[in-house]
């Protein structure tokens, strides 16, 4: 995929070129929205809004990391969604069981390639991490999602959310520390393969 050529075509109004870019980035965009919002339906809506907004404003893209530019768009869409939620609260992430309690591992989150045991483990971990992410302040959550979940480097994250590099470093360090503290509360719930590992080598 010649990304630059597709971007240039999209800037000329070529929707097919932009749709090719969407197909390439839609998983990243959706995952970013999902981790920020914590809800699949809202994340899908925010992703769709982000792509519409991105197409309408692609003429303003002046080079650099296209992924970072898309991440900024989806982050803004998530902020809009969160503002809407504040005005109009919606139902929680987990569907209810027959007893009226939240379902910890909802069937609609299941990956068909996993065994039930693996799926249960993955669900536990994902649930724990998402819970801790939800407890982070929004600006910390955005940075940690971009850097640790999307693998963007500091410069890309700084450009995407338009804050200085030093602020990115600071927010990321504090977000990791808070996540670590939060995840310690789930230590006994995490299966062995997902236990927090000590003594890993420095990169």
């Amino acid at each position: 995929m010649n990304e630059q050529a597709l971007i240039t075509d999209a800037q000329g109004g070529n929707l097919d070129a932009f749709n090719t870019l969407i197909l390439h980035y839609q998983d990243s965009v959706f995952n970013t929205a999902l981790r920020i919002l914590g809800d699949e339906d809202q994340a899908a809506d925010a992703s769709q809004e982000a792509f519409i907004s991105a197409f309408k404003s692609i003429a303003s893209f002046r080079g650099g990391s296209f992924k970072g530019w898309l991440m900024r768009t989806v982050t803004n869409a998530c902020y809009d969604e969160l503002r809407r939620q504040k005005r109009r609260p919606t139902t929680p992430l987990e569907p209810d069981t027959e007893d009226g309690e939240e379902m910890d591992s909802p069937r609609w989150l299941a990956d068909p390639n996993m065994t039930p045991a693996q799926q249960a483990e993955a669900d536990e971990v994902e649930h724990a991490i998402q819970h801790c992410l939800n407890n982070l302040p929004l600006e910390f959550k955005t940075v940690v999602v971009m850097a640790d979940l999307q693998g963007m480097d500091y410069t890309e994250v700084a450009a995407a959310i338009r804050v200085p590099l030093g602020t990115i470093k600071s927010r990321l360090a504090r977000a990791r520390l808070r996540l670590r503290e939060c995840l310690q509360g789930f230590a006994e719930l995490l299966p062995a393969s997902y236990r927090l590992e000590d003594g890993m080598n420095v990169p």
């Binding site: 929707l15 999902l34 992703s47 519409i52 197409f55 640790d148 360090a173 990791r176």
Partner: protein, 233 residues
């Protein structure tokens, strides 16, 4: 451990620290167990985050032209038809305005003439279309002064023709017209039909032509849009 150390550890973990700073930090890590423990915590948290499964998008988010408000490309002739429609519609409306305004002006001028400028009114409306209206509207004015007109009328010897055709009002109107301008026998005869309205300034034929142009041009525009949308799909 302070905030600065926390940032240093996190940046070191991502390999973003300058070599000189890295060397200094590594030396401290060997002697400071609290710092080493904090590094271990950060590393563990980061490792766990990176193990979080990446979900597939639940659907394709590709955009349709409708979603982004794109319209199909229209033929080059389309703006001309749009211009023709707009112009014909404006002129059509304007023609009605002109005709209405013309009639009002005629009425007002006659009213002014009745107050003392009857002779001037016929001069103002020298156009053939305005003259009958002026004569016609003089008839009611004449009836307002039957006592004054009566002696004049009775002085005239009646003839067979005018006793049959003239009504009392028309007769007195005709007398008034003769009194104002005796050299206009035509006006006297037209005053016998007081309900005749003045001819419009813009002929009806023009209005019909403008309406046809506006409607036909709009219809062409509609067809063009439909065909363009069908081709675009």
């Amino acid at each position: 451990m302070n905030q600065r150390d926390l940032e240093l550890l996190s940046t070191y973990l991502d390999g973003q620290l300058r070599p000189a700073d890295s060397t200094r930090l590594e030396a401290r890590l060997k002697t400071d167990p609290e710092l080493a423990s904090a590094l271990s915590d950060l590393r563990s948290a980061r490792a766990l985050l990176r193990k979080l499964p990446q979900r597939r998008a639940p659907r394709n988010f590709t955009l349709s032209r409708k979603m982004v408000g794109q319209n199909p490309p229209l033929p080059r002739a389309y703006p001309w038809f749009r211009f023709a429609t707009a112009l014909a519609t404006l002129l059509f409306i304007f023609s009605f305005g002109v005709n209405t305004f013309g009639q009002q002006m005629a009425s007002q001028t006659i009213g002014f003439g009745r107050g003392g400028g009857g002779g001037e009114s016929t001069q103002l409306f020298s156009a053939p279309a305005a003259a009958p209206m002026a004569a016609a509207t003089q008839a009611p004015a004449a009836t307002e002064a039957p006592l004054q007109m009566a002696p004049v009328a009775t002085q005239l010897p009646p003839t067979a023709d005018n006793t049959i055709a003239e009504t009392p009002a028309a007769k007195s109107a005709g007398d008034t017209a003769n009194a104002v301008n005796p050299n206009q026998p035509q006006v006297q005869s037209e005053a016998q039909n007081p309900i005749q309205s003045p001819a419009p300034l813009v002929p009806s034929l023009w209005q019909i032509v403008l309406a046809i142009i506006a409607i036909a041009s709009a219809a062409f525009m509609f067809v063009m849009r439909q065909l363009s949308a069908r081709r675009w799909k």
